[in-house]
Amino acid sequence: MLQFLQFTLIRAAMALFTLFMVSLIVFTLMELVPGNCAERYLAFKNTQGASITVEDIAAEERRLGLDRPFLVRWGDWVSDVFLRGEFGDSCILRLDINDLLGDKFLISLGICLTALLLAYLIAVPVGIIAASSRNAVLNGTLRFVSYLGLAMPNFLLALIIMLVSTVMFGDSLTGLFSNEFRDAEWSWARVQDFLSRAWLPVFILGWSATAFALQTVRALMLDENDKLYVTAARARGLYGRRLLWRYPARHALGPIVNSLGFDLNRVFNELPIVAAILTLTEAGALLLDALAKSNDQQLAGAIIFLLTASIVTLNFVTDIALAAVDPRVRKSVVGG
């Protein structure tokens, strides 16, 4: 128990350290964008007819605290984020970022996690069967399909589905809500409406995630299948599904649980593009908008930070879950 507690604490400290590092990376990126908030505010005033000078900008910078050194401002930002969960204001939209994001980030996270779940629900059984089958045709086909999942761009799949649904059903299936629910409060009807549309991004994101997961499961199972304990179990007369699930599958699933965080990373990578095509109103599309159109560094920074934070959290949770199940993991405190 003590060992487990120690493991948890060290892992938590490491997760926090990673978050700090990430916040530094994100903050540096935000700073690198040409122009700062003071210039943005005054540029807005300029369009209203007021004439502004260099001194005005300097005064505004002082008012916003932008004349302080880089590390001090980073510390400020980090403590706001960590202690109060505040990301500050977006200087372009002049709105509080928390209000702006609202439940959009949670929706994105939900979509991505569901896609990941779907991917593993398919990949684990299929991967295990593929690894233990000696059927060359089956294996070759699976390999080809999963490579195709990698090579076939997500947006192409999205476009094809959109085309088919437009031609066949007369509904383009885009967006996350139908018109009457777009700005409504959360209610049961809204949830139903959401679910009737969210399956499409979940399916598209899950498609390539499944391809990837299938490869991993199959490779790990192949490694385990040749080990001595499996042969020993087979010699004792175990066979078929009972053998697979009780021996090699258990060992193969450990590394898979461990890499869930990086799988989530991969799904997040694809989210903005899919969101842009399906015109989803969630954080991925907002991020793309902030970066490609409005150059809104505060909003973009907040979203990237939140995405990374959820990956770090998932990594932490899977680590702890594995340690709870497998005592060997607890001993290797730092190793990974």
Binding site: M14, F17, T18, M21, V22, I25, V26, L29, L32, V33, P34, G140, R143, Y147, L148, L150, A151, M152, P153, F155, L156, L159, M162, L163, T166, G261, F262, N265, F268, N269, E270, P272, I273, A276, I277, L287, L288, L291, A292, N295, A300, G301, I303, I304, L307, T308, I311, V312, N315, V334
Partner: protein, 375 residues
């Protein structure tokens, strides 16, 4: 000794004295899907390298065909109702837009107007591998030929596709090289020194690895001012790809060095009086060059995919430059989906390129693994 025995002995001797490269090649050759992937890959690289010569027209606006915008692919044929010809030909077209056609361009194919295919025709001038030229592999005697059709500006999609392969491969190569150098240095330091330095480097690497790459790419690419020229943009994008691609590779280099530096042969070399530089150069590096090459090939499709994703959302390369991402971006409108499906032809090339790389990388990985041989 009989002759078969002699052959057998020679075969065994060849096996025992074979260099690592020969062994890898021998194993690689037996993998059919990897060999097919390799052939496709070589073909695509060849197409990319000699794009200016192989493509009939300039891929930019300079080579556009204003009389055939959004034109369908023209497939050369040998025979039609009026008989056959040894030289393939296409039909001439006339286009009309008037009140009768509801002000849309309507293309009429004129089957009486045969345009014969020519080889080595003079056309737009180009530079290829530093050589100037204006001879193109093929063309038609009259008008222009568009194997894959044309886009909205009348640019030849076949020519654009070939040049796009070139650009995407170049961006990928540059990105892989940059990340390779960074990975060697960072992974090398962590692996060679070990201990505390290794721990710190690992933590930083893990932090960089946790940030989703595409949003990070997007954030960095968003700094590119619109005023930059196509070439500067191109280099910047490659550098970004390289800067973010290094952690995975660095981890592999580090793991490998950590294992190898404790091997007996390194100890033996050290005991024999070899200096560290000599040990690294003559013993450590050759022990894993093949693995590094495999890793590079495996990471290549991800570079191409990232470039495509960036260009696709409009943050990467932009229109005068032809990259696969730019070509894919053109396919997104509903108009294209419903009316101009030939815009999707470059997508097939893109998929072929990625698949070829993945199969070759897979085959190489299996071939480079000395314990992978079974039976």
């Amino acid at each position: 000794m009989t002759q078969t025995d002699a052959v057998e002995t020679r075969r065994k001797e060849a096996y025992f004295t074979a260099s690592q490269g020969q062994l890898i090649w021998a194993r690689f050759r037996r993998n059919r899907s990897a060999m097919i992937g390799g052939a496709v890959l070589i073909l695509l690289v060849f197409m990319g390298l000699f794009a200016p010569f192989l493509s009939p027209y300039d891929p930019t606006v300079a080579g556009r065909n204003p009389d055939y915008t959004n034109g369908a692919p023209q497939i050369p044929r040998f025979c039609d109702d009026q008989g056959c010809s040894a030289r393939p030909f296409i039909y001439g077209v006339t286009r009309e837009r008037s009140i009768e056609t509801n002000f849309r361009w309507v293309t009429e194919i004129d089957t009486d107007d045969r345009r014969y295919l020519q080889v080595f025709v003079e056309g737009d001038s180009y530079r290829m591998l530093g050589i100037r030229g204006d001879i193109h592999l093929f063309g038609v005697d009259e008008g222009k030929i568009h194997l894959f059709g044309t886009d909205a500006a009348g640019k030849d999609i076949f020519s654009r596709t070939l040049h796009a392969i070139n650009t995407s491969l170049a961006v990928g190569t540059l990105g892989v090289l940059i990340s390779f150098v960074m990975a060697l240095v960072i992974g090398g330091i962590a692996g060679y020194f070990g201990g505390v330095i290794d721990g710190v480097v690992q933590m930083i690497t893990d932090a960089v690895r946790t940030v989703p790459a595409i949003p990070l790419f997007m954030a960095m690419a968003a700094f590119v001012p619109d005023t930059w020229s196509a070439e500067t943009r191109f280099f910047f994008i490659s550098i970004i790809l390289g800067l973010i691609g290094w952690p995975t590779l660095a981890r592999r280099v580090r793991t490998h060095l950590l294992v190898e530096r404790n091997q007996e042969y390194v100890l033996a070399a050290r005991l024999a009086g070899a200096r560290p530089g000599h040990v690294i150069r003559r013993h450590l590096l050759p022990s894993f060059t093949s693995y590094i090459i495999v890793d590079l090939v495996i990471s290549f499709p991800y570079m191409v995919l990232s470039e495509t994703a960036l260009s696709f959302i409009g943050l990467g390369l932009k229109d005068p430059v032809n990259s696969l991402g730019v070509m894919l971006q053109n396919t997104t409108s509903a108009d294209v989906l419903l009316n101009y499906q030939w815009y999707f032809i470059p997508v097939l090339f893109f998929m072929a390129l990625v698949m070829a790389f993945v199969f070759v990388g897979d085959g190489l990985r299996d071939a480079a693994d000395p314990y992978g041989e079974r039976g």
